[in-house]
Symmetry: D3
Subunit: 310 residues, 6 copies
């Protein structure tokens, strides 16, 4: 296009994510796949909904006193995915992530449903054999199969564990699942459900307030950050947006009351400053269930903060 | 449950579709599958949305002067389908349809996306080798594959043609597709697109009003009905609800302006009275895009009329 | 309020319906009652929704070449009705209508559900013993009782017939009801359902197009207008907005596909020019089911035309 | 139905609430009545909306480490209620509750508006003369009459007090009402409004944080539980969902900012473990005002926890 | 970006509108301005809403038997407009249009409110002194000022007339305005309101059906096309989407019942084939009032047809 | 109107705000202007949306133990504002405010976008040269110009500072803006952003919980109240509703996650009791983005509390 239009036309890209590819440090891309969503579909529209309102978000983060420009991000757009063939879709996402890694950059992926995480974890685990994952979610996602289907949003963390093994996945916010998934979580993951009450099978004592839970979360994340830093362990963050309370994040597939607030999650993530972050994804934003736009706006703001952390 | 509750509680089933199975002539079931939907998903909620408001519909059709009870229908509920494995889902639907046929009854299926039609057509073509299909749709659905995927809502009529061959599929209402699909339609189907203008490749002359189109439709359906009756040919109707104008049927996946009205379609269907109808399906109702309920109400009313025609 | 505010502030009243009461010819009022609505409630919000957007409507009707001001209307506001006591609510509406008549003015009522018509008809029949009613509706409303309840939106026309007797109610647009209601309609009313097909019990021959129906409606209304004028019979119009097609009037309680268009109804009403109109009501606007505002805008425009006809 | 369909079809009933009636311990039923709702109607759709999405809810509660199956619940469906005759509707609900009690089971009712509680309390108070009620609500509901109507959602707790007398109703969460209702509450109920500020007429000192309020609530509930257990007093819980903050429960009739969170209410309810619970109801869910489904999902999750407490 | 992404990523641009600028024949751009909208704002989101769903639209038009690619269009994106300074916004749009004309290409503009047309007409009238305008609209837009403001969506056609003078503007579809605007229209424009009834000030006889209106429209457009072709007059089309019936186009600012259908407008436009079209705009799409997406889909389909006509 | 209607008709005015003007102490008016809104318009509908549901709000505040009637408020209605001419609109608002002040009453204004505050501040600063402003907001609003436009919602606090100077504006809740706006805020205002994290440029130490933030806010407001009381300084409150968390206030133009709760803001405001309040405004309520009504209900409740504080 000629120079005239450069001046007059709006950018049409994610907020300040227009670093030329050869200077970019982060490759941001959408993976608009929701082919295994069992309840309310729609996360395929997540990345485009975020992009459409990204002009309304400031580039500057007053929480971190940084600008998005400082993160040298390139918005690569959305992968064009086949709907109806799960394996083929995951392969395309894995290829994209691998290509970004080969170029020496970090992947930042916007789902789509949570299953897309399996694709990036495959590529990342290949590159970083000692990869750890920080997992924010309302659901365990630890089933072996769901309604007879192996590759499913409800099995994704189990599939990641198949790759990484015990003690490498750190789960926070969980408040829904089968009993056997909770048992598995306590046995094989670094597992921190977000529960009050006495039933909680992995705990010895009763918790009756979210303040207690949050304090324990802060301690656990601080300890994790220390360990990761001490041993230079590469960390990937996968954040299922349903970890937030439905009151602030209604636009997601399966709503679980009793979740975290924005400032609580932001605080936990900021505590990771200085660790070796090798990428992240944010998933399960479902715009058809977000008539007010509040879920999309929250996701966008969190994206800014996470990009600045990379 | 005891007798008390029988008196007091609401029926909780489709309007007057509670004929005991051994007396039933029609097996009505939902096939809530939308795994290959390429644009706006949500048709998985179609059958339950219709069931939820079915109390608001009268059992009596003043158009046909009959009651739904006269059709001896049994609402079997919704098939529990795996999301994420298209082949497995189609097999389950095909088994259900085959079972209904084996019991000597007629299938009436509510989608779900249009691909579910392939499953019933497989079962029906096995039973009725000379099956014909009356196809109402806005889209050709004649692709060979869509985004690299073979089994897709965009390929379903092509897959049916693979089974039935030339001249057995009668298509009405089509107004969108690839150019090669239109060419294929004119060459291999009894093909009646719903188009004005001069470009229409299969027509020799220009049409400029819907009145002309409707009159030609009425003649074609009358001729078809005569042929079918004369030769006792079994007929299956597959009706993609996007054949209607989006003004009256906004709650569907892909909206195509310039469609048919309710009375126009009803009139065409009533002209089939006396033919050998062996089943039907109605698909692509997407409740998330029907905030006013108008699409669900229209589908429900058409379902009543179609059940009474069986 | 002082003069300053008169200049600066918006009118806050129905479009040009601010004639001082002693000069007014028409008393316009809301009857926001939906206590017997069996399916989707919400018509209680009808009058306030119309008032809220009435600034967006022009005072001038290009169809009749008149201004609302020429009708000398006073917007009296909404009656404050008890919810939960149907009889008390109807009494209040009847009193209001009677008071308007006693002042020598004509009532124009905005529902609420259709049952409110019973209240105005009581008051009007007292004043005009030879009252006729022109009834536009999708539903027969001719039940004796509904779910064990006598006073109901589903019985309102039957209750009016109890007062007026045979041949005084002229029904148009009907396309839903019990079979016995249709039989009753043909036997006791001047009954014009809006039906195609062969089943139609009161007709000898099959109708297959809306054009035929509309032409017959125009003839029937013209004949009615002639008779009314010849005998100076007072006429009341009750218009249930569900007579319109749900595609243009989704914001109503019970949606019946296959209805009339705006221009068709407007044309029928304009044919009444010169008859002795003594009042009208328009009912069943349900704003919660009108997310786009199209139903409210249509009702408002029709209100303007009906006020100009009074 | 035959065995084939049993395998293939989805359950179509409330999550795991299919215990045969003779083995059931709890009778769950809907009372879809909203005939006296003064502001935004729609709670009639509450039970069906919950049932429609109940497949998306896990049977397992990680808070209590129990499965819904352990509660032996039978979903009886919805009572078919006359709209427009309040007394008749209440009688039908009372009969249903009485029948459940006579069968030796506990009632669990889903409203509908809050007035339905009067019907169950009548039946329960007959059976348990020393019944106490735990009342969660944003509103006092202590009027004598509302807009001239005696039986109203705004009078329901007053009507319960007429039956039970002083000190038997324990109210939490109240933050709206007439001044005289607050005075009555302090004088005749065990009354715990959810208020900050200095105006609070029943309190001697000013409260400025919700933490203080919550701590005082926990103490009060613990004390109540001790007393109830010590004297084996039968307890009924009536929970108006508007006790929750509108941010997490927008889908209700009258919204009152400044309410409780999900974990706060859950914690209070779990503190009742071991008391003699004889039934409960949950009311005022209004799906038309819940476009995201968050209110329905919260109600469903709370229902699971309350069923497990019975 | 490197070649890998070219293959994998979705286009992210308007359907097939990616012709390199130096080969392009048409410059398509958005003018997202709604600063003078008096009733319901939101047209600023029109172009981005269309772009976001443009992947769901086929490139092929079966009406014209052509592909969008044949029109050599370049989507230039949206102009970044100041909100709050109307004159500055219009200047930017005029500059953009002038630049496109200077490059020897044709402008195709997506509003935004109707006022944006004034900017393109200024640039086009400068280039083509004998410019004619074909104007589709529900409203006259012939005020001198609106609420004291000179530059307004309600004055835009009057401002165009100030530039072009008598007989150069051909208006169709009009059904709302002040009486003096209708008088002005009949006196100074080639004015074809879309009205039934007897009041119609410019007509000698009464029209009672839309069929008559449409037939007269077809004749008028045919005559216009003949004249334009005979004299090689440059024609610009400005189409306010509210010319369509609100039943099919609810997503616009001011809704006027009784409008045109999609096929009617398409037919009229196709009759212009062979005239010297120098550009067009389509405006007043307001996505916040289009919850079903039907308005956006209609606009997109019409855009395809209009691009193919250029 | 005659006495009959006075008895029967609903008030049609803001809850209990019908004090005759000569006895009124407060003039309440709407300023429905959103002409410079850069992202999502719609605040022009704020005042009418609040008025429409105001009947559902109790006159009695249990927080302050007072009735709205005690505040002697007169609802003056909405100013009729030109859309498209910002300066003219601000002048009209300023005139209205000045007129109210001249009559010896206090202004209470409902926006509209935040820019309307500039108009009231102009009139108030003229009257009270030592005016202070308490500013609640999510955004700094301290730009010099926005997209080249001087008078903008994004510049309004800067324009107020131009009038009042350093140290007279007390800002709370801020969590978004340009870096230079934050710097300006710390340098020239009494500036209290609502931020956690270490980046916060004006703070020496890291804050990680909202409890800390709220405690510091309570102390700051208490100190401010003491100073104002000691020196009898006139105070104006301008409250941008986006200061609240989007979870409880989604119906606003630009959503910023991580905001305040209703009880937190109410507590802060109640701490001002006894100061010399000379007026207030509440702005940025955008009903098109409030499908559940929760935002409007919150604003209405806060309005009651603020009126009672005047």
């Amino acid at each position: 296009m000629d120079a005239f239009f450069k001046d007059v036309m709006a950018a049409g890209q994610f907020m300040a994510c227009d670093t030329p590819w050869n200077q970019a440090k982060v490759g941001l891309f959408g993976a608009p796949f929701d082919g295994t969503t069992s309840f309310r579909p729609g996360t395929r529209f997540g990345p485009s909904a975020m992009r459409q309102v990204s002009d309304s978000m400031e580039d500057y983060s007053p929480y971190q006193d940084k600008h998005v420009q400082d993160a040298f991000v390139r918005d690569l757009g959305d992968i064009e995915l086949p709907i109806g063939d799960t394996a083929m879709a995951l392969d395309l996402i894995e290829d994209t992530c691998r290509h970004i890694l080969q170029e020496g950059k970090k992947p930042a992926m916007l789902g789509g449903e949570h299953l897309v995480t399996l694709a990036t974890v495959r590529a990342l685990a290949e590159r970083y054999p000692n990869l750890h994952i920080l997992h924010f979610d309302a659901h365990t996602d630890l089933r072996d199969a769901f309604l007879g289907v192996d590759l499913s949003h409800a099995t994704v963390i189990k599939k990641c564990w198949d790759i990484l093994g015990d003690g490498r996945i750190h789960s926070f916010g969980i408040r829904s699942g089968l009993r056997e998934e909770f048992v598995f979580g306590y046995d094989h993951l670094d597992f921190h459900p977000f529960l009050i009450g006495s039933g909680n099978i992995g705990k010895s004592n009763k918790i009756s307030s979210r303040e207690e839970l949050i304090t324990s979360y802060q301690k656990s994340i601080d300890a994790l950050a220390r360990t990761l830093k001490a041993r230079s362990i590469p960390l990937y963050i996968t954040l299922d947006l349903d970890v937030f309370d439905p009151g602030i994040m209604p636009g997601t597939g399966t709503l679980e009351a009793g979740g975290l607030s924005f400032l609580e999650v932001l605080d936990l993530i900021l505590r990771l400053e200085g660790t070796h972050l090798v990428g992240f994804d944010m998933n399960e934003l479902s715009p058809p269930y977000d008539p007010t736009g509040q879920s999309t706006a929250l996701a966008l703001k969190l994206l800014r903060e996470m990009l600045l952390l990379l």
